[in-house]
């Protein structure tokens, strides 16, 4: 029998070594500031608008915050979202 020993070409990733826990969830959407983060993929804004309308219909006191992102979004825009929102809905990851 012959043997062929080779290096593994697939490298580990940062993520495979460190898992980030999720942010704490909110209990209810009522009274919350909800960011609608649109990354400018076509019609993501249309979907977010529909979701935003439904949020306001179903949950009292929801405030919608429009976030004009890019792909990816600048860090200063994300930092502002953290200040102004309690939760974020993003669209789309295609």
């Amino acid at each position: 029998m012959a043997k062929l020993e080779v290096y593994i070409p697939q490298a580990p990733t940062v993520g495979t070594e460190h898992q980030t826990p999720a942010a704490p969830r909110i209990v209810t959407l009522a009274g919350m500031r909800v960011g609608l983060l649109w990354n400018h993929k076509a019609r993501g804004d249309v979907g977010l608008a529909a979701v935003g309308e439904e949020l306001q219909r179903r949950f009292k006191g929801v405030k919608l915050v429009q976030i004009r992102g890019t792909n990816p979004t600048n860090d200063h825009v994300l930092a502002k979202a953290v200040e102004e929102c309690d939760a974020v809905i993003g669209a789309t990851a295609d």
Binding site: A2, K3, L4, E5, V6, Y7, I8, P9, Q10, A11, P12, T13, V14, G15, T16, E17, H18, Q19, T20, P21, A22, A23, P24, R25, V27, T28, L29, G35, L37, H40, K41, A42, R43, G44, V46, G47, L48, A49, A50, V51, E54, T70, N71, P72, T73, N74, D75, L78, A79, A81, V82, C85, A87, V88, I89, G90, A91, T92, A93, D94
Partner: protein
């Protein structure tokens, strides 16, 4: 998704709307980011492909999943980091050739291939490449998108070995990897987009000739004259997959793709160029060895054996230097210069065309200005892409929506959007490559 990962790290709960066809890609991305608990709300179709009324229906159908994503505790399906992979693997068979085939079968099953047989990354081959790099094998050259792959010299060398690279070529490979991840090159877009982005690496300086790279006839053609170009390109393809994890249908979401995703590596034909080397225009000395990476989105052969006057050649080059729909016009202004959303053109000008132009006094900068002024598209093409949401256009382009269809508009935003290098043989042809984002030049150490 990267946005949501960052927001979650900053303590903000998020949910992302994703088309079902991208479920595997989304979950792979999340794991690669170390964000396995990201919340998704899946919808049947890509919003880009359906009319507005269907978008609304599908978004509302995902409403409960959106609420759940924001309110229910998130637990990653896996909590422990992956166990460290062994450094090597051994294949046993009746003889070495059978071992070689077994290795290829297994690596292909794992997706670690570009589709062609892989040379075995043996200890001898890889250690030789590491020696050629002059660096420690455990040195981390960069963190490679899209999966934040830890790009050590060893892993880069292993993939270069599979491509058939030799030790002397390693400094160029390392420089190419660094260029790929140097801001402002749009590496993430380049590697994960639904578009068929393929990287072209342009080598300048004496190292091109020293390595016997092809800069002349058939410089971009697979074959013996361009064997060095091809294996360097192949190395980069294997690296972005096996180190960056940009595997097609997973993190690489190419819709149709392109053979340019094999990547392209070429040296500038400075002997035949009437102008200073490409990198000299970027502030380097002609004796510096550099690699410049371009994010190409298409390539078009330019045939002009008919004009013998420089302005005729220039007009031909301009005609082939347009973005047919003007789809990226104004994006940089609209979204901010630091987002690097810019439409550019790389012209690989054949020596014959270059010498005709320079012989009549055309400088590289003069040619760029001419191309900018004369590469135009009908307003109708721009309006066709932007008509459904004209408010998204950059303010300076909104007037186009009211212009007559046959009005010719500039196809580029400035002369600086053009990049010109001399490559190829002499037969009345050049090559125009549409590019997205800034090209980046790095020095070869």
């Amino acid at each position: 998704m990267l946005d949501q990962h960052k927001l979650e790290r900053m303590g903000l709960p998020c949910v992302i709307i994703v088309a079902e066809k991208f479920r595997a890609s989304a979950e792979t991305h999340a794991r690669a980011f170390g964000a396995g608990s990201l919340a998704f709300a899946f919808v049947p179709d890509c919003f880009t492909s359906i009319p507005d009324d269907q978008v609304r229906v599908q978004a509302l159908a995902a409403f409960e999943a959106i609420i759940e994503g924001l309110t229910s505790p998130r637990i990653a399906p896996y909590t422990a980091p992956e166990a460290p992979a062994p450094e090597t693997e051994t294949f046993e068979a009746e003889d070495l050739l059978a071992c070689f085939h077994k290795m290829n079968r297994v690596f292909t099953e794992r997706g670690w291939t570009d589709g062609f047989p892989l040379l075995p990354p043996t200890r001898e081959a890889v250690d030789d490449l590491v020696r050629g790099s002059g660096r420690d094998p455990s040195e981390v050259v960069t963190i490679l998108p899209p999966a934040s792959g830890i790009a050590t010299v060893l892993h880069i060398a292993a993939n270069a070995a599979m491509a058939g690279c030799v030790a002397e070529e390693m400094p160029v490979v390392l420089a190419a990897v660094r260029a790929l991840t140097t801001y402002p090159f749009p590496s993430r877009t380049a590697l994960v987009s639904t578009g068929g982005y393929g990287q072209l690496y342009l080598v300048n300086g004496p190292i091109g000739k020293a390595l016997e790279m092809n800069s002349g006839t058939a410089a971009l053609v697979p074959g013996a004259p361009s064997r060095v170009n091809m294996r360097l390109a192949r190395a980069m393809r294997l690296i972005v997959m096996n180190v960056g994890r940009a595997y097609p249908t997973l993190l690489d979401a190419s819709t149709v793709g392109s053979p340019r995703k094999f990547n392209m590596f070429v040296a500038e034909n400075v002997e035949a160029s009437p102008w200073v080397p490409f990198h000299a225009d970027r502030g380097y000395s002609p004796e510096d060895n550099t690699v410049t990476v371009f994010n190409t989105l298409s390539d078009v052969d330019i045939l002009d054996v008919f004009n013998s006057a420089a302005d005729g050649i220039a007009r031909t080059l301009a005609a082939y230097s347009t973005y047919p729909s003007g789809e990226f016009l104004g994006w940089e202004e609209r979204w901010g210069k630091d987002t690097n959303h810019s439409a550019r053109v790389l012209l690989l000008v054949g020596p014959e065309h270059a010498q005709m132009l320079a012989g009549s006094g055309w400088t590289r900068d003069g040619l760029k200005r001419f191309l900018h002024e004369n590469a135009r598209i009908p307003a109708a093409w721009f309006k066709n892409i932007h008509r459904n949401h004209p408010e998204r256009n950059a303010p300076e382009y909104r007037w186009v929506m009211d212009a007559p269809d046959d009005r010719l508009i500039l196809a580029t935003e400035s002369p600086e959007m053009f990049h010109i290098a001399v490559v190829g043989g002499t037969a009345g042809r050049s090559l125009s490559l549409k590019c997205y984002g800034y090209p980046v030049t790095v020095r070869v150490d």
